[in-house]
Assembly symmetry: C2
Amino acid sequence: MTERITPRSENYANWYVDVVTQAQLADYSPVKGTMVIRPRGYAIWERMQSALDAMFKETGHQNAYFPLLIPESFIHREAEHVEGFAPELAVVTHGGGEKLEEPLVIRPTSETIIWSMYRKWIQSYRDLPLLINQWANVLRWEKRTRLFLRTTEFLWQEGHTAHETDKEAREETLRMLDVYRTFAEEYMALPVLTGKKSESEKFAGAVDTYAIEAMMQDRRALQAGTSHFLGQNFARAFDVQFQTRESTLDHVWATSWGVSTRLVGALIMAHSDDRGLVLPPRLAPTEVAIVPIFRNQTRDEVLRFASTLREQLSESFRVVLDDDESNSPGWKFAEWELRGVPVRVEIGPRDIEQGTALVARRDTGEKSPVPIAKLSGHIAALLKDIQASLLERARAFRDENTIEPASYDELVAFFADGPGGFAVAPWDGDPATEARVKAETKATIRVLPFDGEERARGRVCIVSGKPATSIAVYSKAY
Amino acid sequence: MTERITPRSENYANWYVDVVTQAQLADYSPVKGTMVIRPRGYAIWERMQSALDAMFKETGHQNAYFPLLIPESFIHREAEHVEGFAPELAVVTHGGGEKLEEPLVIRPTSETIIWSMYRKWIQSYRDLPLLINQWANVLRWEKRTRLFLRTTEFLWQEGHTAHETDKEAREETLRMLDVYRTFAEEYMALPVLTGKKSESEKFAGAVDTYAIEAMMQDRRALQAGTSHFLGQNFARAFDVQFQTRESTLDHVWATSWGVSTRLVGALIMAHSDDRGLVLPPRLAPTEVAIVPIFRNQTRDEVLRFASTLREQLSESFRVVLDDDESNSPGWKFAEWELRGVPVRVEIGPRDIEQGTALVARRDTGEKSPVPIAKLSGHIAALLKDIQASLLERARAFRDENTIEPASYDELVAFFADGPGGFAVAPWDGDPATEARVKAETKATIRVLPFDGEERARGRVCIVSGKPATSIAVYSKAY
């Protein structure tokens, strides 16, 4: 905590790395492109996992585990899949001291190995739907990496479901997108746009890809989760047919959906500030830090009082009492701010005399004295308020930085001097138009909102002037 | 459930595979030596993880995550470590379409990558102890594999701790061994012997390895968990020194300890029977299965009643109501027995009239009518009793199959016609003696009990006739 965090205004990318490393969330590992998730970072991921896992189980999914290594030939079975993933593969050529007959790849995603098993498990409509999720590590060889946001290896969950009908699979795809939206908003305090991806941005092997997209504090977009309708593509590639209710044979319909440790990066980028991490209370491993303030003659009394306070508050909250005597209170304030603990309680001899404690909230920095008797209720309300405020603040920030440009010139200007933000405009649906915008502004289409078609009716594409088929949200992205 | 399970008496190995595959705990994957953990098997692992994770946190450990891939040169830094693991490595030679400058190995265990990070994180005694655990997949190229018990890839936890002193690290090693013993006995209902491993059986790179060893139903031993005192071996290999309280420099003292999905195999082999899985209630994903029994005219009444019952019991237990009408009650009884659900509740029209339900316990097969009003209390007591009975039964079985041979001839005879069991005898501490026993009986030393030295005092080795240094427990093992 003796190091300085680069201010966001000075260099946003350095600020991010400073927060991640100084708050000890992650560290660079000796293998290029990979990272170590340190205990304080992993504790956030554990809270994310636990909330998401409960939501998956509530929607009928079960966890399983499939192998890390996939025969290289499997990746080649689905034409678009191999095109998308072949350049990113890590290949195992030797095992147990011998050269392997067929190279194995480390899973970049598990559709192929999972559908090779589904072939064994699915014979009839009675075996459907099959609703499986896996928590696992995956590996994609990335050229440019960034802690949490893009690393060669990352942790994630991947849901893989099999259904009788097109309709059911499409419903599942959107159900899980909505689970992600709910999680982002209610736990991460992160407002997200939802919608479909354009052809150029969809998952290799999907019919349709849907995403949740968030705006970071530097006004860039971050894709925080995706849900894919895979049609019958993987069922065809792995010959997974089932006996229908009408006793005919049909290929199974599929979805897949995932979020990863990238969410930890999104959380940091969305809420943190120049003093360090800011965590929404629902995902904060520690909700309350108690810092006792004393001199030699008041030491015992204050520590005894603080310790009782810790016990009381622990009944309702995740509490730490920082009674380390080798650091000053000022140092501790800065340290708990760096770590993003939502509420700090300061307690000294005068507070004890007056029957109050000083309560500081991390998000705004506000401090106020609170009667000890009302402390627990006050903190409960404060945590709720912080959770809601962070969401509101992020939503207001996004809205302030979203424009509906009236002309292509305005759109180009918006992205000319920096990240810009979100630009919402009618699009003609032509990949060439999308490519032109990307080439000229570096912005890409993040999502086509669900009501985009309706909103585009009767309007023309802001770039080409041709009739628009949808509204598109353009942004520079991570 | 239409397939037959091979009886244990006919072929124990086939019985095991039948139980695992028919209860749908795991399946063979297309990659040799690896397996798929299916939802019903993974649910057991999740319960194990959750109990163990809480025990690790109670003893002050935090979770983190280190990279899957390790530079090959790291494995070579510790002389014994490389000797032990080099033959089992999977090697990544290509990434992102290019040949790598240095090959990377998939972690067979993570001491090397973790100690390379500890070097960055540990400077002073203030940074110690460092108590980190990771839940991860690891890979060891195995020639002979067996579902759950030995697979090329497996899931596990690995604790890696760093300490100021020899004494503190040794205490940690034994503390975690005791956590494993407690978990095995209290959750898995699996009695275990604890003790030190002989030199030939210890972990590659450890000073001392300790283990928990259990007896399976075929009287073979299974090593269910290990805890290693690593001395300063890895700190030396990775140059991890710290400033002591006396301002001198010293290498850090280390431990590592792990249990894996092998525990699921141990659980099956310890308690299951010819009808399928038998699960101790604390690890059973479902504790109670309700099977309604009805004809057309009683259908609605029985289902309504069963559904109310499910709601009531769900307040205290993990309950499933099997109201699928395409299967007969008899089929369902067999199915829930195969799946190992500890308690089955059968409810039909006559039961409703009489205000009772028929309660069957999985372990003994006993059935008894229980008044509905007393059902919840009865089931709570029954689950406790099943948990305790399974442990007692396994302990009695182990004791019945443990001998203290009076001569080497008796020991040889014990192992001559099959697995034998555990043979407890004084040992002279000589690796040559151990090797001779192994060559002549196929039995190895599983553990040297903690009181082995004391018990051996004044006695002679059963094999060599030389003065004994310890008691040894010999057994054939998985």
